[in-house]
Structure formats: C-alpha cells, structure tokens
C-alpha cells in the first residue's frame, strides 16, 4: 500500500462544506472584490512595467501603487513590510467587511477559537533585499530591519494575528505558487477537526527583485503582457496582492454564503520547476478536491486554471483537465489580468471563483487571442454573464511539483 492520495486513502467525502463568510482582495485591479469583479468583466489587463524598482530587462507586472498602501499601526511598526501593508489594506476595505466579520467571529467563538493560516512565497523579502542593499552600500545594518517580524515566513500571519487580536493557531504556509490554496486546505482541516470555529486564510505576496530576476533566470518571463492559454504564449508576468477569506464552521445562519467544499493536494514527484508533462499530479489534486466536495466532474461549471502563460505549464494543465473533465467543462485563466501573484494566487483566484458563483458569470481569459489549438477543453475567452454557476474549481501548482485544487459552491443538501 502506498501513500499516494488516491480516493481510497481519503475519508474526505465526509468532510462538511464550510461557509466563506467574508473575503476581500487587493491586486493590480484595485482594492476590494468589486474592483476585481469589474476588471474580470472588462477583460482589460492591469499590467505595466515595474515601478517599485528598475529591472535591466523588459517585463510587465501587476503592481499595486505604492502610495495607496496604508501605514501599519505604530505599535506594530516592526512588522511594516509591503506584505503587511497590502494585508492591512485588504482586511480594512469597508465594502468587503472582512475585518468586521473577523471581529464578529471573535465575539461569537472567542479569540482562542479563531485561527490564521496564511500563504506566502515572498513574506517580507523585498525589505530584506533593501537591507542587503543598504549593507552593501554603507557597510553597516540599518536599524529598521527586523528578521522575526519582517523576513521570516510567519511574519505577515503574525502581523494579522496581532492586528486583529486572534489567539488561535497562527501559521504560514509556503509551497511557492500553491501556498494560499494549501492554506485554505489547512483552514478547512482546523475547523473540521474541531480545533477552530473560524480561520482567516488565503495569502499575500509582494513584488520583489528575487522573484523578478529569479523567473528571468529561468527564462520564463514574457516581454509582453502574459497571454495564458494562447497559441503564442511565451511566459509569465508577475503580480502581487492579497486574497483573504474567512471560513467558519457550518451554521444555518450562513446558508446563503458560498461554501468551501473541497481541497485536493498532491505532488508531481517529477521536477523542481517543470510540471509533469501529462499533468499526472495535477489530475490527482483535482480528483481529490471533487471527492472531498462530494460532487462529480460534470457538476463543475467553471474551472479557474493555474494558466501561468508558459508553454509547458499550460500544456501540462490542459492534459490534466482533459483526463479529469473531458473536453466540455468551461475553464479559463486570470493571470493575464492580475499577473501571477505567486503565493497569493490561490487566495485571489479562489475569490475569482467565489465572484463567479455569487455574480453568476464565467470569467474570461484576459489577453487571449487564439487558444492553443492543441487544447481541447472549453476555454472561455470573454466573460459571459447571467449564467448559473453552482460549483467551481480553482487550480494552483507550484515549484517542487506542489499541486492544489479548491472546489467552491452553494451548499448542497
């Protein structure tokens, strides 16, 4: 008997749906779920050349305008990173009411019963880079750098814990581009196993030189705005942002909420950066998510693909899609709009599927001109409104062959 996550190893079909009682997002499209929704409908990308720092090559990215980021509370000044400031703006966005929902959860269950699992692949590395630059130029350390509250992986999760007064389990999950979907899976387990009654989850990543030059070194940065799923796609555009969701234990009061139904996780066991060519690991994650959700492939109305825009990634994912869904299921990718937000992608793109359910539309694939003719699935180019969307899936895959799929939907009987 091996430990691979085939359905027989899971007792996941008994895992109950959990209500998503609030969520918010911040990315190049702007602050709040409404701005993301409007951008998805318009299909106009939010990418431009990097402004936060110069690069010695041409690139496009989905950047949040620095001037718009709030300052953190003086008592938490040590935690002030780009990541933390993006987090703060996101939880405080009044229209989405995420902060109020967290406060209500604390009142309802007690702070000990509200946890946080936060995905990130960058943490405060932008500030660490500035620290090394200062050291190189001045030969001494600036006093503003703080290893524990800025650089370490758990820094932004801790910032939110203190900002919001959460006392439940608090940890960071960092599995590259699947980080925040893994965080959703952990949040679901904490509630299902009875450890927490509510968990703030999702993820946050910010632009930095390491990822910008790192992906350039792998030769997968596009010189134009990225074109996921397109016949002429030639690489990624980076983005940054936050996608945060509050998940709570089942309650009749939340029956009107979109629910988190299933999370599937797997590994490729193939290569550190290249996906399995046939999408074998990706298909396992998708099937595991469906099994945990207790629904069939044909029930899924829309799949938000990982669709980064590299030749290999998109091909591999489409092979996996064909294995799991055949060719009729609608799917698309949104990284042409936001850029690839790496450790935040699972949070932001799960919110894309949340919007699709809530506002009854199929998000289109920004920057797509002509679908790669080898793809046989039903790729959505332009957003289509006024259609029922009951169940969705969101895929994210990361370095290390780390795969996730997240199923949302209306609560089923």
């Amino acid at each position: 008997m091996n430990g691979n996550p085939t359905n027989s190893e899971f007792v996941g079909s008994t895992v109950p749906p959990l209500p998503i009682t609030a969520c918010s997002t911040y990315c190049a499209c702007g602050l709040g779920t409404k701005r993301l929704y409007e951008s998805l409908l318009s299909g106009k990308h939010c990418l431009h050349s990097p402004r936060l720092f110069k690069t010695d090559f041409s690139a496009w990215c989905g950047e949040i305008v620095d001037d718009l980021l709030p300052e953190v509370n003086p008592s938490l000044q040590a935690y002030s990173t780009r990541n933390a400031r993006i987090a703060l703006a996101t939880i405080n966005h009044p229209a989405d009411g995420l902060r109020n929902a967290v406060d209500r959860a604390i009142d309802r269950y007690g702070a000990d019963r509200v946890g946080i699992t936060l995905g990130t692949s960058t943490s405060g590395i932008y500030e660490t880079e500035n620290f090394y630059k200062y050291l190189e130029e001045h030969g001494r350390a600036p006093i503003s750098f703080d290893l524990v509250s800025q650089h370490l992986w758990v820094a932004t999760a801790r910032f939110l814990k203190f900002e919001l007064g959460l006392e439940g389990p608090c940890y960071a999950i960092s599995t590259a581009c699947s980080s925040s979907s893994k965080a959703l899976a952990s949040a679901k387990r904490l509630i299902t196993a009875g450890v927490c009654d509510a968990v703030l989850t999702g993820g946050i990543d910010s632009l930095c030189r390491m990822t910008m030059y790192g992906f350039k070194s792998l030769d997968i940065m596009s010189e134009q705005p990225c074109k996921p799923l397109d016949r002429t796609r030639n690489g990624i555009s980076l983005g940054e942002g936050a996608g945060l969701l509050l998940v709570e234990k089942p309650d009749e009061a939340f029956s009107d909420c979109v629910h988190l139904l299933g999370c599937g996780e797997s590994s490729d066991a193939h290569h550190m950066t290249a996906p399995h060519p046939e999408g074998k690991g990706a298909a396992i994650a998708m099937r595991a998510a469906l099994a945990q959700a207790g629904i069939a492939e044909r029930d899924i109305d829309y799949v938000n693909l990982h669709a980064t825009g590299t030749v290999l990634n998109d091909s591999s994912e489409m092979r996996a899609m064909e294995q799991v869904f055949g060719t009729d299921t609608y799917c698309g990718g949104t990284k042409g709009l936001t850029g690839h937000t790496l450790g935040a992608a699972g949070g932001i793109e799960t919110i894309v599927t949340w919007l699709a359910i809530k506002y009854r539309f199929r998000p289109g694939t920004c920057n797509l001109e002509q679908v790669d003719p080898s793809f046989r699935c039903a790729v959505v180019r332009d957003s289509k409104t006024d259609i029922p969307v009951t169940y969705t899936m969101n895929n994210n895959f990361g370095f290390g062959g780390n795969n996730t799929a997240v199923v949302l939907g209306w609560q089923h009987e």
Partner: protein
C-alpha cells in the same frame, strides 16, 4: 509520570528520526547516530541542495525506516527560515547587481524545497506541506499532522528543521543545523499515542526561545523526542513551545 493526564482522541507515533550533523552538539544533547546521510538524493541533487534540505531528508528517511513503513506518505515540513543560506546568497547577488541570478539557487530558495526533493526522491505523489510558525513551529506542525490524520489521511510524516542562520540576517547567532522527524498514523497497538496539541494556561518550564540567537526553534522538538526515547510507560505532558501560554501535548507510552 502523571496518571491524571490521559490523552484523548489520540494518534500513534510509529517511528522517529533525528539529524544533527554537528557531533559535539548531538553528544551534548545525549543523541547518537544523528549524522548526515542524504544518500536518498541523487548525487547531483545532493551537491546542489542546502544543508537544510539534506538534514530534513535524512531525518525523514530515518523516521520512515524506524516505523518500517513506505516513504510514500503525505508529509509536513516545518521550518522557521527554511532555505536561509540560499536566500542569503541570492540577496547578496541582488545587492551587488550580479545578474543573472543562479536559476538553481532561485528554485532551491522556496520554502518547500526539502518537501519537493523528498517527493521526487521517494517518488511520492502525496500531499507535501511546508509551513512556518517560529517558536510555535513544532507544536503547530504536530497540530497540522493531528488534523490531517483526523480528517483526510491515515498516515503522515512530520519533519521540523532549521539551518544555521546566516550572520547577515541574525548576527552572532548560534543556531544548530538540525532536523527531527516523526511518522504517525491514526491508531496502532503498542505504540506511543499522542493527543491533540493544545495551549496550556500556565507558563512553560522549558527554556524560552525568545532569545533566537542561542537556540533555534526546531530544538523545541527535543522534550518530546527525549520522552519517546526514555519510553517510560505511562502518561506524560510534554511542553512544545515557550511563553506564558505554551503549546503542550499529552502522551501515552506503552
């Protein structure tokens, strides 16, 4: 031993593995056979991966061997700073405008580097988790393992590791490169049983790790590993973190 402590809703500990390459440190801690042996990794990978990844894989392999189970099981890797030496190299290159960056260093900088190489080396397509929680890391890794066993899997491997911190990031630190691994399942006769980790209201009696310079967070696995090694039958409460409300876990040793 304290018979008032009876762990509830337990999971079983099948095997454990430790890797501390510095023999002097291992001897001080009363641990033997903790040397580095990452022979599971292909030679090319072994040369290109950090000590952090190699100690994690050594301990993981030892725990599976001690448990006499297949290495193809879901795994959870916990570390405070992960690939800090790789990150240090990349940050130096960036500060000096030495571009292009090394593509190998870049993809080996992710926090799930050890998890990724472990899945490749063992040909395991199971879920690989990579998490961080500083001084709560071992406790929350155990909690994540416990939650996985109570919800979706019947076996899981937990590996907690830290690498010596680069001096630029933490001047004058004396972190010891180390990894501790446990193989767990839902239930097994005649094995140590562990309840759900929880927070205690009384302050911890173990040394605080608030001084990060002298003691790295992965070392907080030691009290549990010592209790398992002594194997004194009965019920034990083990402290997993420091502070005024530390994480603890109750054990039942056969």
């Amino acid at each position: 031993m304290n018979d008032t402590i009876v762990p509830s809703s337990t999971v079983a500990i099948l095997g454990r593995g430790v890797c501390i390459p510095d023999e002097e440190v291992a001897a001080e801690l009363g641990l033997a056979d903790t040397g580095l042996d990452a022979s599971l990794l292909p030679p090319m990978v072994r040369r290109r991966t950090s000590l952090a990844t190699r100690v994690a894989i050594t301990a993981a392999e030892r725990a599976c061997a001690a448990a006499e189970i297949s290495r193809k099981l879901p795994a959870i890797f916990v570390s405070s700073a992960g690939e800090s030496q790789v990150t240090d190299s990349l940050c130096r290159s960036i500060a000096r405008h030495e571009f292009p960056l090394s593509p190998t260093l870049f993809h080996n900088s992710v926090h799930n580097t050890a998890a990724g190489y472990w899945s490749m080396a063992t040909d395991s397509m199971a879920s690989m988790q990579a998490m961080a929680a500083l001084e709560d890391g071992f406790a929350l890794g155990l909690l994540e393992a416990w939650c996985q066993l109570k919800t979706i899997v019947d076996r899981v491997l937990l590996v907690v590791f830290d690498e010596a911190m680069p001096a630029q990031l933490l001047p004058d630190n004396s972190w010891t490169t180390c990894a501790f691994a446990l193989a767990l399942n839902r239930n097994e006769r005649n094995r140590p049983l562990m309840g759900r980790p929880y927070r205690q209201s009384a302050p911890a009696a173990v040394p605080s790790v608030e001084d990060f310079r002298t003691r790295n967070p992965a070392m907080l696995a030691l009290p549990l590993f010592r209790a398992l090694r002594k194997s004194d039958a009965g019920h034990w409460r083990i402290t997993l973190s420091s502070g005024t409300r530390p994480w603890v876990v109750d054990l039942e040793l056969p």
